[in-house]
Amino acid sequence: MNAPQDKTAFRPAYRVIGTRPVRPDGVDKVTGKAIYGPDFVASGMLQGAILRSPHPHARIRSINTKKAEALPGVKAVITGADFPGLAALEVAVGESSGNIKHVGRNCMAHEKVLYAGHAVAAVAATSSVIAEEALALIEVDYEVLPYVLTIDEALAADAPLLHDDIFTQGLDPKPTKPSNAALRFTIGRGDPDAALKGAHTVISGTYSALPVHQGYIEPHACVASWNADGQAQIWASSQGAFMIRSLTAAILGIALADIRVTPLEIGGGFGGKTTVYLEPVAMLLSRKTGRPVRLTMSRGDVFRASGPAPGGTMDIQLGADADGTITGVVMEFKLLGGAYPGSDTHPGAMSALAHYNIANSRVTGWDVLCNMASTAAYRAPGAPQTIFPVESCIDELAMKLGIDPIDLRLKNAVKPGDVGVMGMAAGEIGYVECLEAAKAHPHYSAPLGPNQGRGVAGGTWGNYGGPSTAVVSVSEDGSVLVTTGNPDIGGSRASMAIMAAETLQIPYEKVRVTITDTSSIGYSMLTGGSRTTFATGKAVIEACEQVIATLCQRAAAMWGVDAEQTEWRDGAVYCLSGDKQGSSLTMGQIAAKAGFSGGPISAEVSLNAQGFLPAFGVHICDTEVDPETGNVSVLRYTVVQDVGTAIHPDYVEGQMQGGAAQGIGWALNEGYVFDKDGRVDNPGFLDYRMPVCSDLPMIDTVMVEKPNPAHPYGVKGVGEVPIVPPLGAVGNAVSRAIGIRMHDLPLTPDRVYAAIKARA
């Protein structure tokens, strides 16, 4: 028996890894057969609808549901009073945790609404039309309260408070008065103030970005069915069926084993589908009616009540020696976290400077609450906002010192072995290789025309590992089934099949992958944190190795030799000694006899994946600015990224291109706008302008493959980091095109035009 050889030295010659086969779920998805969140139908299903607050901040004096209940076809109406009393309990959500009281109150307000769009009541009826009619009959008596939507408003001395039980965490001594500042977090080392004082050059500035939405095209949707015997089923699209199970069970106070969550195909998440909004509400409606209930958000609901990623302000001072060595950085940022605590302050602070080796630094982040929907994770949460000012200052420093911006980054880049602010030595990371690849790319030396500018920016994201389960079964004919609990959001079925085929040394087409429900497999953390190919992939590989061991034992028993006298090669067992030396048995031949030996051949592996490594990327962006209108066109864009090993290169490149496009949108077009009554003024795709096909050029990709030694095939997470550099890359490109440093995102034509005009 030979274990898969050590794949850590350098990239070995793989058979299947690195090829680009058609994904297993492909045909269903190009023919319209795949069933997504809003597509599922249960027998006897009712249609639900949710009444949402028109006010950004108000006390609910009373809710009268009598007229709605009397409408023919209405089967149930619920309000916050129907939710069980919620203890302020922390429950695991992905890598982090959520305060279950806040998650529950976000699903349905009780006593107070905290944003325009906050759910206050819900209806189940025989049709959507009747359900919507019933909403109009619900009378809510609001005591309208003053609201806050900016950092200055939220932190003003006399600011109206969203919560009277939130005291700023991370202050010493502990504050005695509640505050809209939920958290202050500082991370740093050395003496940055002295370093700035002694620096040859100091670059400083105040930067800002607006809240943006993840913008998945599939609105949130679910069907719940809760029987009188206490057992329930939920069909929903999300980044984690187990996440839905744990949050719903905690909010409703029921046992995990009583809820079976079936993951439907997910139409995009980007972090925005890592919590629950509808499922507990649909569950309560179902319990009240005894029938399955569907809830679906409209696009307006999605913008008003789910997501967004926090906007904020970032103050930075960066000092350097004459040769470009960055000697000290002081940065303070405030993120606008929305209605409940838990914005991206921690990861934002930890990411801001993590791609540079800086001896003296202090980064302070604040989580500031405001009367906007509670923010949710969005692809490398916190990092785009905090790395944008860093990459902007480095660009400004490069111009001031007359140093090439990539050379300047190379001078300061973090390398393997460098000890970071958290006291951890960097592993086999590839930032330097990315910078070198970017410098060598023809894009970087291509000529620029008038009104054009080229921006470069780097970035990093920590990635994750964590708990995952996989089952590998050999069918009676020798074909292979892989089962996991991780929703396939961007081609992970294909990457699981590739890693299984590689390990088993069989063709990709002999492996089929299923994503199953929470009652059919052991726990897996959600699909997020760029963890699935790494962590769940590890479980698949280990399960394949166990299956190989079993197959060798079975063959050895059939031949009457020890298992050590067999070898696994090309998807078959070979006999190495004795009478049968040279004989072989295929998986199908062994599996067909499984009933005459030890029984079916399968393995389930649950693990807690360690050894994940952070991802690094470098983006190059060329823009052209129309001086007459301020309009910015992206002419050329290149993404360079250390991907560890690209299991299925199409889907790795796809992550790089998609993340870049989202970041370009954040930099140029996207942002929440509020009207004079504190409501989202652009809650639709017409006014919330995400990049469309004609806005973008082809996005070139360079995959730098520096394998992760802690993964059998060298995998590093790839999904999140591509959204980190674009804010800086686009900002630097526009700043260089017009010769004015731009600090505030998005760089809409009016802002760019005003900047040009102000100089003239």
């Binding site: 994904r23 779920d25 190009v30 998945y216 409209s298 696009r299 096909c693």
Partner: protein
Amino acid sequence: MSKLLISATVNGDAQQFLCDSGATLLDALRDELGLTGSKEGCGSGDCGACTVVLDGQMVCSCLVLAAEAEGRTVNTIEGVAEGSELHPVQRKFLEKGALQCGFCTPGFIVASKALLDHNPDPSESEVRYWLAGNLCRCTGYDKIVRAVLDAAAELRQERVPA
């Protein structure tokens, strides 16, 4: 409120369905005919996930009343493949990895096929502007545009007489 009885040809089949006067064609396709391949991403004609072809014209089915389909021909994503034979656009989307989550894919495929039916040799720019009414949040459009250009090239080859 009494319902309307609508007769239409859907993916080549004569179909009848009941609908409310305010129901959209998308509602009717999804809820009455069980054709859930057309998706609702916005309900306002901005995302293109519900794109179908109505009497040869590409439309957002969320902006068309179901009753307007009376006597007309509707082609949806479910009718793009010839039986089990994928259309070249569908095949190229798979071969080029032009989908990630796949939710916008039906709309993109219907729109791309409509483009190639009109214009067998589009430039990259023509593809990008034709598809500007279809939102994809996953891919950055690169692989989608390449898939459509590849499908166009393949279809032109097929059309060359032997």
